[in-house]
């Protein structure tokens, strides 16, 4: 039995040529239009840090940054992101020097199994980029789009609070 892969797609389907800056490196690729950004990252670039959880935009495990903002990479076509800067969990550290958010997740035990962690960290970094984390209520509300089935939420909030400097309590 042979599996049909995207590479074996019917020749009548025109592939689109796109250029993406992924973690600071420029990639020019010919992609079938139905390739999600998530599948492109994992299957064609080999960046498997971004996780496929539900593939329907419900779990947030696939969260990456597009031009600095957090998005669900499973619900966007790679071709729609032509020309954009994509940052994944692999692109946050500087060599061995972890991003402060990565370090905080370690320091506060912001995970158990770790499957949602790349999405959690990318979402938190993106929300910081958007300057949206003023209070712990902001963290709880705005991080709700990435689900942790282990239930490490308390420690995730603590980690994000540490880096963001968010105050305790309600949004103004």
């Amino acid at each position: 039995m042979s599996l049909t892969t995207v590479q074996d797609a019917p020749a009548l389907v025109m592939k689109t040529r796109i250029t993406l800056q992924i973690n600071g490196t420029s990639y020019t690729l010919d992609v079938a239009p139905w390739t999600s950004l998530l599948d492109l990252l994992r299957e064609y670039i080999g960046l498997a840090g971004t996780k496929k959880g539900c593939d329907h935009g419900q779990c947030g495990a696939c969260t990456v940054l597009a031009d600095g903002k957090p998005i669900n990479s499973c619900l966007t076509l790679a071709t729609m992101r032509d020309g954009q800067q994509i940052t994944t969990i692999e692109g946050l550290s500087s060599g061995e020097q972890l991003h402060p958010m990565q370090q905080a997740f370690l320091d506060y035990d912001g995970f158990q199994c770790g499957y949602c962690t790349p999405g959690q960290i990318c979402l938190a970094v993106g929300l910081l980029n958007q300057n949206l984390l003023k209070t712990t209520d902001d963290i709880r509300e705005l991080m709700s789009g990435t689900i942790c089935r282990c239930g490490a939420y308390t420690n995730i909030v603590a980690a994000v609070q540490e880096v963001s400097g968010a105050h305790e309590g309600a949004s103004k």
Partner: protein, 330 residues
């Protein structure tokens, strides 16, 4: 996903032409709903027309003192826009009550209007659904219908419109700007979405070749006294069981004009103009709010599993109006 072809036109006219000349073509904005539905085989376009190269992303004042929301501005850009927050806080609050931060960074304003119902039978290709395949029958009618409509449904479809943003837009009397092969037209928000009737596969009064270019907000934003109250099964990231958008224009304790629309209860955002009229000239107090809430729900027709929505909506209307009277802080 089923294979499809893809184009990204640079001109609006090009996009409109592509929609008329290509079989089974669909426009794509953010894609957060369309791509999801394509993955589960509920929507099967053969060609996608990506609108994101069109210059429809600005949010700018209109000549009449209102505000124009570009169709391609994201939900996040709109909700966090300084003018939207100051002048139309119920709209900002409604948008931020919906979806997640990631989805709001992708979803566009035009796409928000055109998102499909979250009725689980619509999503499940193993069960009949008149919205998905006209003539198949409605599984929700005799099925588990806890999340379904209590207003304006038909024997063909009892699905609800899922948007929060659209509930505020209905209350604010927004106007939808549309361009198609016959040129540009505008449509009042109340007339944009449809009731299911005998054609539940049609969600909106929009032709296949027509593109939403903007949503215009009128000058009146009820900024001093408005609220968006959303009730759902968890505190965040869930669709509304019932939601209420209200605005009051007060002179002392007297209501000069009012806006009221419900979400999660009908095939479209449920603006009730009779209820709005019942508030005008009256004193803004709990007694009057209760009279209005009872009047709104007098026409409700619940199904087996969603009768709770009637009482929930009554209480939500009263609470939202009290919140608005106190200046919108919940």
């Amino acid at each position: 996903m089923n294979p499809f072809s893809y184009a990204k036109p640079g001109q609006l006219a090009e996009a409109v032409t592509a929609a008329t000349s290509t079989e089974a073509a669909k426009f794509i904005g953010g894609g957060t709903n369309l791509l999801d539905l394509m993955k589960v085989n509920v929507m099967r376009p053969r060609h996608l027309i990506d609108l994101n190269n069109l210059p429809l992303r600005t949010i700018e004042p209109t000549a009449d003192g209102g505000l124009r929301l570009g169709a391609l501005a994201t939900n996040a850009e709109t909700a966090y826009n300084a003018q939207v927050r100051q002048r139309y806080p119920m709209l900002s609050d409604a948008i931020l009550a919906g979806a997640s931060a990631q989805l709001r960074n992708m979803a566009t304003n035009g796409g928000n209007l055109l998102q499909r119902t979250r009725c689980y039978y619509f999503y499940d290709t193993g069960t009949p659904c008149n919205k998905r395949t006209p003539g198949e029958g409605c599984s929700a009618l005799q099925g588990f219908n806890r999340i379904h409509a209590i207003f304006g449904a038909s024997e063909q479809c009892i699905a609800t419109h899922p948007s929060d943003m659209c509930v505020a837009l209905a209350a604010l009397r927004a106007v939808v700007r549309i361009t198609g092969k016959n040129g540009e037209r505008t449509i009042p928000f109340d007339d944009f979405h449809r009731l299911p009737g005998d054609t539940p596969h049609l969600d909106a009064n929009l032709a296949e070749d027509e593109v939403i270019t903007a949503v215009d907000l009128p000058p009146e934003g009820f900024a001093d006294h408005s609220a968006y109250l959303k009730l759902r099964d968890r505190a965040s990231y869930a669709f509304a069981l019932v939601s209420v958008a209200v605005g009051l224009d007060l002179e002392g304790e007297t209501i000069r004009s009012a806006a009221l629309a419900l979400g999660g209860v009908a095939h479209k955002p449920w603006r009730d103009q009779e209820a709005e009229a019942l508030l005008v000239g009256k004193t803004a107090n709990r007694n009057q709010f209760t009279i209005v809430a009872d009047a709104v729900l007098a026409n409700a027709r619940p199904y087996r599993d969603n009768a709770f929505k009637v009482e929930m909506a009554k209480r939500a209307i009263v609470r939202a109006l009290e919140t608005a009277r106190e200046g919108g802080k919940q």
